[in-house]
């Protein structure tokens, strides 16, 4: 529909003090919000809870999510405003991906898929898939 589509990378940190259930809801809310604008979601890569390098709003841990999508640029300001308002989003960053970034992303994604497959093959429980 949109004439000028770009690929975007959105990373955000969710307050991990709230329950796992709430985190899950928030992540899916962000994802639906983006997809409802007509964007094509390429991937939602959840890193999970990690220790922050410095405290943000007195929190020491955060739940990291990286999502990748294709859409027109007009939704970005609205999206960022929504993220800004939500108190449970500690940080966010949207980047428009240029050709080099897309190439890099595709390579790293292939690597991740491979690793996930390798982890699946191993008898030990995979950590990436539980959530």
């Amino acid at each position: 529909m949109a004439t000028n589509e770009n690929t975007y990378e959105l990373s955000y940190i969710v307050n991990s003090v709230i329950s796992d259930e709430q985190v899950k809801n928030l992540v899916s809310r962000v994802t639906t919000y983006v997809s409802e604008t007509g964007a094509e979601i390429l991937e939602v890569d959840e890193w999970g809870a990690r220790r922050l390098s410095y405290p943000i709003q007195k929190k020491r841990n955060g739940y990291y999510v990286n999502m990748y999508f294709r859409s027109s640029g007009t939704i970005i300001t609205r999206l960022e405003r929504a993220l800004e308002i939500n108190d449970n989003i500690l940080r966010y960053m949207t980047l428009r991906m240029d050709a080099k970034m897309i190439r890099h992303y595709e390579e790293s994604r292939a690597r991740r898929v491979e690793e996930a497959a390798a982890a699946e093959a191993e008898p030990e429980p995979a950590t990436e898939t539980d959530k």
């Binding site: 940190i13 390098s53 500690l90 940080r91 960053m93 890099h104």
Partner: protein, 66 residues
């Protein structure tokens, strides 16, 4: 590091392992004088470090970066 280091075409801020190689113990970006990388790579590095700092992946100031 066993193979000669090739400068990647894009420096990902999420790759903190790579970024940390170019920071001193305080978390400051090392000058090109020390890192000996191309100007292009150093610029990309600087960008990526600043992005990573914003996302709390690496510290702005660290007393000890383990």
């Amino acid at each position: 590091m066993n193979s000669p280091f090739r400068e990647p075409e894009y420096v990902d801020y999420k790759d903190t392992e790579l970024l940390k190689r170019y920071l001193n113990e305080q978390g400051k970006i090392l000058p090109r004088r020390i890192t000996n990388v191309s100007a292009k790579f150093q610029r990309q590095l600087t960008r990526a470090v600043k992005r990573a700092r914003h996302m709390a992946m690496i510290p702005f100031v660290a007393d000890s970066l383990k």
